[in-house]
Symmetry: C2
Subunit: 308 residues, 2 copies
């Protein structure tokens, strides 16, 4: 049997069995050292899979850090230390310098530090980032409670539209198009939510594979039923313009577009914070499954292996 | 200017400058959390660069963990937690299971735990291991003192001979040849030395690139002169047999053969421990450079980029 037959999530289940490890399967792995909770996570960016050589290397470096910070924030923490494992072809040194400038800018922004790493030669660029964060309280995917509301930060679907625009490789883009491209190439992890998530969220995940896929992780791991109202899903003005122009449905982008790196979380309604760009898009009940406007939602997000 | 022109170590210097990080350049990065010292390290195994697809996957998994433990031990610590970032083609699931069985066996042996990881699809197998260890005292490459003796654990050069034998892809191997192959494919990190290194070593490095290259790191970073006596360098019986058979000089293998994962360390002579397989191969003086039998030793180890 090949990996493509069991898929990414099937393979993870098999490997969990071999390791007999209960903790694997959250945004970060919490470990305890005396009275501290450290959050460990890793995420990689592979050339031709997550980015192209023609992307600005500063943006690639920024994103490599941001996607890891996003996992730390979703677990209720702040990033502390970073190791970078780079696999590189024989590139121009200036490319690697720009990549590292992006990494450094991101680390300064998120207030964490690259403390080490490793270099290997390879055919394609691969940036493996390992990050250690610290949390006052670890927030998992499995704590959603019946009665909670479901919230999302920011707007959804922008990154997918930005990717499609980028791959057109046009000479000229309109201003709203450049904003969408920027949301794909330079996403900002929602570190402004760490305090809110850490204090109030019962469950949280960052939206990396797409809302329709990631909401299932909360539903399954929390053993709850989740209802989503499509009219409440936040769509940006830029995505609306894009969809009008290309005859697309913004809801499709919001549901299945990955790499938005927004946060999806649940807590009681009275914890709503009007100073954050959070929006209630649904509710948590006893039961099983995810429903959109009353109909079961199929998890249509991205499986690296199954779609390959 | 391309990476091949500045080399691996040149590139590391450039990247250190961008990050303005003083700690990069040791076996592990020490970070402090309250009164604890954590050691962070990462090392990767890339198909066709560090191993071939025909190698037993259990051995590949074992080695991926061992090379990281070796760095932690060289810093005077014990491993605690592991994250694994896997980049995989669409392989047989059984291959990945065997790889993880090797990882699990190694983690059980070294008493550490895989707590998480990441999966990405790629053309070649890449195993990026991220390890966190703990040390009572961080031992760096930079603490060697004039008056110290230079010690090495185990025997040197076996791994390179094992690699050459393996690449012959013969049907039959003699028993001593199988032992050399085993030292290449399943090296054991010297975790039995953690206590000794942590208590007594002034400087330590694990021999991954080769003695002649790695000893220079201690010399440069400690600002000392190091003298090595070639007749004291420990050579295994198996390597002698191999060299006799193939008309090679075992000293060449011991000096420039990498991946032995033995420890090279310095401390005063009265800290010698006869219960360990340690051997004094030289001495530390005031001055600069590394000398073998009185002649300057050129750092002939492995540079991933310059040799490419």
């Amino acid at each position: 049997m090949r990996i493509s037959q069991v898929g990414e999530f099937g393979l993870i289940q098999i490997l969990k069995g071999i390791l007999s490890s209960p903790v694997i399967g959250d945004d970060t792995a919490p470990v305890h050292l005396n009275d501290k909770t450290l959050l460990l996570t890793t995420d990689s960016m592979l050339e031709d899979r997550h980015f192209k050589r023609f992307y600005p290397p500063q943006a690639v470096g920024w994103k490599a850090i941001s996607v890891n910070v996003s996992d730390v924030v979703a677990s209720g923490g702040n990033p502390l230390w970073v190791l970078i494992s780079l696999a590189l072809p024989d590139l121009e040194v200036s490319y690697v310098e720009s990549l590292y400038e992006g990494i450094k800018t991101a680390c300064d922004f998120y207030n964490c530090h690259v403390v080490g790493g490793n270099l290997t030669k390879s055919d394609r660029i691969m940036i493996d980032v390992f990050m250690i964060g610290k949390a006052e309280r670890f927030v998992s995917r499995s704590g959603a409670k019946p009665g909670d509301k479901l919230y999302v930060s920011g707007t959804l679907g922008d990154s997918k539209a930005g990717l499609e625009l980028l791959l057109m490789e046009r000479r000229q883009y309109e201003e709203f198009e450049l904003k969408l491209i920027e949301r794909h190439t330079r996403p900002t992890a929602r570190i402004d939510y760490t305090r809110h998530i850490s204090k109030y969220a019962n469950a949280c995940i960052d939206i990396s594979d797409g809302l329709s896929s990631d909401v299932w992780h909360i539903s399954r791991m929390s053993n709850v039923k989740i209802n989503i109202n499509s009219k409440d899903i936040p769509i940006s003005q830029e995505l609306r313009l894009f969809c009008n122009k290309h005859g697309k449905d913004p809801l499709d982008y919001a549901l299945s577009g990955g790499e938005d790196y927004q946060l999806l979380f649940t807590h009681p309604e009275d914890r709503y914070n009007p100073f954050l760009d959070m929006r209630s898009i649904g509710s948590v009940e006893e039961g099983y499954g995810v429903y959109l406007d009353g109909r079961e939602l199929s998890p249509s997000g991205f499986d690296h292996f199954k779609l390959a």
